[in-house]
Amino acid sequence: MTDIKISESPLNVQSCIDWVQSPESGGIDVFLGTVRNATKGRPVQYLEFEAYEPMAIAEMKKIAEEILAKWPVNKILIHHRTGKLGVGEIPVIIAVAAAHRGAAFDACRYAIDTLKQTVPIWKKEVFEDGEVWVAAHP
């Protein structure tokens, strides 16, 4: 089972854990992305996330389906936020439940690594004296 969502409202960690939990699972691996206060020593004021939403949802579903085909996991959840996020807020939650921890760890790492490569979501770092679209330029 998969639960994929893009939301402008704050993500709720506990409800994500509750959703993946089931009697068949002996382990849940959760990855939280959090907004860091600086990039290369430059203080970050906030991040702004933008998504090509229908395609982003489709790409996130592809990742979840690949994981279900590749690892013995029971449930996978991927939630991503859009809009302005301050330091410490959570842009992404990935939760994977499996019978055993190995598959949960591997699948969770694969999910976040692949999301960062394929899902059409962009973040802009806003500093006191300027802003930068992350990874845009060489």
């Binding site: 090509y52 395609m55 962009w122």
Partner: protein, 79 residues
């Protein structure tokens, strides 16, 4: 003429989240890429960019119609 969506840095380069780009149906994706690069030269300064057709990453040889939903996908940076 087709509507081209752009996001992130690409939106700043094209000047809007949806822009009209004239081209003839049946152009290849690589043809459309060259056309976009000459219309918006700053796209060449990006690390890379992909083009999505109807919500899917498209291959260079794919043929494009002006009724397709086309999107410029600059390097993604979610998470």
């Amino acid at each position: 003429m087709a509507k081209v969506l752009s996001f992130g840095i690409a939106k700043e380069i094209t000047g809007g989240s949806v822009v009209d780009v004239p081209f003839e149906s049946g152009i290849t994706l690589s043809g459309l890429r060259s056309l976009l690069e000459s219309r918006y030269p700053r796209l060449r300064d990006l690390k890379s960019f992909a083009i999505a057709v109807n919500g899917e990453y498209a291959a260079a040889e794919q043929l494009i119609n002006d009724t397709d939903e086309i999107a410029i996908i600059p390097p993604v940076s979610g998470g």
